[in-house]
Subunit: 224 residues, 2 copies
DNA sequence: GTGACTTTGTGCGCGCCTTCACAAGGACGT
DNA sequence: ACGTCCTTGTGAAGGCGCGCACAAAGTCAC
């Protein structure tokens, strides 16, 4: 009852997660001067089945031409529109340690429609220090940034501080958070949190590696 | 027919992805001196439903005690065993730029059963330079590292080089790869690749943010 | 203008994952 | 020894996503 199936813009989560990949492929095609692509072309470029590509794109509307394919630039625009990338989003990074500095220096943000508008840290010794062209600012500056349009917060502090930082972000009105700290964050339902966890990824790889190794022998005694 | 359901160790992928989270929670409980937890305790600690917790754990075996719960340390061991974390895994990081250095400095590896055994880069100017206690080495050293037990490769090079680096890793025998570059890697089926993509995560957040904003007004013209 | 060809958009069945609900099982007090 | 209470482990149902296969639709050559 929460959504009328007929009126609903219901793009499945699984599809939303793939749209950025299609978009990247389309930009690549566009850079190569290719004006039109088939679902099969997109499939090989993204490693997704062509039927899935077509079904995903069909959620956005009918932008393909039968017998020909999709206009690269037009489709890229439509995906950008669906994802909400037709205007820039303002991002703040909290925690200017090893990871925070690497993120701040990352050029992949600007080219994808995201603008870093603030670098924050609790450590007073870092305040005023310039990282990637922006000064590190105290946490108290958060509220002002939201007034300037800040929408997305990135947490790159130690796990112990993550919940505290999250609470501060939420209290000033940030409703989208990307969390790099290995903790589960508690937030109101209106806040969307996504988590990137390096250790988890490695542990999943370890599981598969063990599975493959176990098929042969248990091996792996490397007494150097 | 590829696997006998009775003999099969078939742990669903979705479950494998949650096991590291349970493990982290269990370590936390153990540090707090808690010896026994219920599925409900684990549920609140991880943000997963208690029924799902029990079903996930049931794939590992019957390690719970009805009416009481699970022994924290014993369950932690069983999860570690299932994930293949009962021995250390050797990891190499390729690409010692902003991100690679942050990863090399990250202390969360060692505490989770992973050991960084090599830092590699193509740039000869970096060779010999010490990062986080390890010297940066040329790509040619890869083969030797595999001989010493290297199992997992981390790619932190620009997107253009990622496929080339991937091919080199695969050719020396690495079958588990964690890729930070925004590219789809082509590999033989025996190689497991997991991808961490910052831009994708931000774009998914943007989608949800737009959705929420759209419910009110289209807002968001911040003409500074 | 017509026919052959290409590629989209989607209806449908299948399998995996989630969620509910409860019987089975074990501890603990008396 | 026995009953009560608590929590596990799981059968069954529902939902979601995937992939096949094909009709619909439009292009292009002649
Ligand atoms: N370094 C990596 O490669 C890496 C990889 C994966 C995950 N992580 C996670 O990312 C987080 C940051 O890692 P790091 O290596 O950059 O740590 P770090 O210790 O180098 O940096 C943490 C920074 O956060 C700041 N900080 C601490 N508490 C704060 C607070 N309450 N408010 C604002 N700022 C605060 C500190 O002053 C410091 O500058 C950690 O949770 C870590 O587990 C790091
Ligand atoms: N910096 C970030 O926060 C961040 C975040 C997300 C994703 N990424 C991605 O991670 C990758 C690395 O980012 P970065 O900021 O560290 O880049 P960077 O340019 O700072 O570092 C890249 C390093 O890779 C090395 N390299 C290049 N080609 C190589 C090859 N063929 N073999 C071995 N080494 C090679 C270079 O010498 C350089 O040291 C990029 O693909 C980027 O898109 C970075």
């Amino acid at each position: 009852m929460s959504a009328d199936p007929s009126t609903r813009r219901g793009i499945p989560d699984a599809t939303v997660a793939r749209l950025p990949e299609y978009l990247r492929a389309l930009h690549s095609f566009s850079d190569d001067g290719i004006a039109s692509v088939s679902s099969e072309d997109l499939a090989v470029a993204t490693g997704v089945g062509s039927a899935k590509v077509r079904k995903d794109l069909s959620y956005l509307g009918s932008y393909g031409i039968r017998g020909v394919g999709y206009d690269v630039d037009h489709l890229a625009y439509q995906i950008s529109f669906a994802l909400g990338l037709t205007h820039e989003w303002a991002v703040a990074i909290v925690g200017m340690g090893n990871l925070g500095r690497a993120l701040a220096a990352y050029r992949g943000f600007a080219t994808k429609g995201f603008r870093i508008v603030g670098l924050l840290d609790q450590d007073t010794r870092l305040h005023g220090q310039v990282v990637a062209g922006l000064p590190v600012r105290p946490m108290a500056d958060l509220a002002g940034l939201v007034g300037e349009g800040l929408a997305i917060g990135v947490i790159a502090t130690p796990a112990e501080s993550a919940q505290d930082v999250c609470d501060q972000l939420v209290s000033v009105g940030v409703r989208s958070i990307l969390n790099f700290a290995p903790t589960v964050l508690a937030t109101p339902p209106s806040v969307v949190v996504r988590k990137v966890d390096l250790s988890t990824e490695l542990q999943i790889l370890a599981f598969h590696e063990q599975r493959k190794a176990g098929r042969a022998v248990t091996l792996a005694e490397v007494s150097s």
